[in-house]
């Protein structure tokens, strides 16, 4: 950022989009700044601080949560209403991020767009089938979570397009969810993340999303595991079989923290654990 000459503070999303489209690669977005502050691209001459344009509230209306891109993780973690959304899995995922001062800076928008292999909140957002509202020079559009995370979100966004809001629909049926992270310490990056969201009718699971994070470049749905359980009762054996299916589908990388083989084993363990937690939470609700 050695060549940055000015910083602009757009007052709303339209102004931000205009600044970004006029300046192309010269402009760099700052949200919480926790990754952007280390940007060393010499082309960058204009900083665009998105945090002054509102979009910093958490709202609930008619069974839908709307979260502005500038809401910080500490705000999400402390929000009383979100603790009941799908078993509190979003709160679990944001609490899993780094340490207190990191959560006090990182925004949900930054966390969703600037995805690293080990990023935690995207795993829960994909499992909850969140909707992503985007605004760009061509207008506004909304992507479902599967489309938003189909490639790296920074490639999914068009030039000068920003993420403005994330929306999450509550279920009217009995539902449950869980996010679990395996890491070497409380504040370390994930070895494996798993998020599960399930919707039930009686004892039968009618809709299930199982997402694994930290093993590949992007979080991915363990569809073979989902297929084994959807429409069924979630007994111990069925859960164990689904967890094995997730492990078989996992393409796990080696890194400094651990090797791919251990990661794959832990995918099985963590999927099993998350499914059991989500099942218990759904039962408590019914």
């Amino acid at each position: 950022m050695q060549n940055a000459k000015i910083c602009l503070y757009p007052r709303d999303a339209s102004e931000a989009v205009r600044i970004l489209s006029e300046n192309g690669k010269r402009a760099l977005i700052l949200a919480g700044g926790t990754t952007a502050s280390a940007n060393e691209d010499p082309q960058v001459t204009i900083l665009v601080d998105l945090t002054r344009m509102g979009l910093d509230t958490i709202e609930w209306e008619k069974g839908q949560w709307t979260i502005g891109c500038n809401v910080r993780l500490d705000q999400l973690a402390q929000h009383p209403g979100l603790a009941a959304l799908y078993g509190g899995m979003l709160v679990e995922a944001v609490q899993a991020v780094g340490s207190t001062p990191i959560r006090n800076a990182v925004t949900l928008g930054g966390s969703a767009v600037q995805v690293f292999r080990w990023s935690d909140p995207p795993v829960a957002l994909l499992a909850m089938d969140a909707c992503f509202d985007l605004q760009g020079p061509g207008g506004e559009r909304t992507l479902g979570a599967d489309a938003f995370f189909a490639q790296h979100p920074q490639r999914v966004l068009n030039p000068a397009e920003i993420l403005t809001r994330i929306r999450i629909q509550e279920s009217e049926e009995d539902s449950g969810g869980a996010f679990v992270k395996l890491a070497k310490t409380e504040v370390d990056l994930a070895v494996v993340d798993v998020a599960v969201r399930l919707i039930c009718s009686g004892r039968r699971c009618t809709d299930l999303r199982i997402v694994v994070g930290a093993t590949q470049t992007l979080p991915w749905r363990a569809q073979a595991a989902e297929d084994l359980l959807t429409g069924k009762r979630l007994g111990g054996r069925a859960i164990a079989a689904a967890a094995r299916a997730a492990r078989e589908a996992a393409r796990c990388r080696d890194d400094v923290r651990t090797d791919g083989e251990y990661r794959a084993e832990m995918v099985e363990v963590m999927v099993r654990r998350a499914l059991k937690m989500a099942r218990e939470r759904a039962r408590q609700q019914s």
Binding site: I6, L47, D74, T100, A105
Partner: protein, 154 residues
Amino acid sequence: MDLQLTLNGKRVVWQAEPGENALDLLRRHSLSSVKWGCGEGDCGACTILLDGRSVRSCLLVAAQLQGREVTTVEGIKEPAGPPHPLQTAFVEKGAVQCGYCTPGMLLSAKALLASNPSPSTEEVCRALDGNLCRCTGYQKIIEAVQLAAGRMRD
């Protein structure tokens, strides 16, 4: 750019490069309690309070401070007044050895006590989870925070 912020309760206007690291900026203005540790957001030696929240100054650029309130350890007590109860408690409990992590610890603890005057041990640990100490270990630091919390409640 003209950077306007409230630093330790006083309005200041500084000349700054917008992309300058906030930690460098603060040290350039003689706020030497803010330490360079890892420079990557892991260690917490550069902790400041931004609008009352503990954050890493090494992960901020100058432009992000525009219009904000910044608190460093230089500002947690009156210039001529006695030390802050947290500072006194850290001394009494022997919670300081080399001292490099202490400013960050004090600020994280101050932010905690502002929102939670009677934290449990677990809550203290959680609030300090982003501040590493390489000398004493954490026991005395936790005890000091709780001693100060008790005195500040009285």
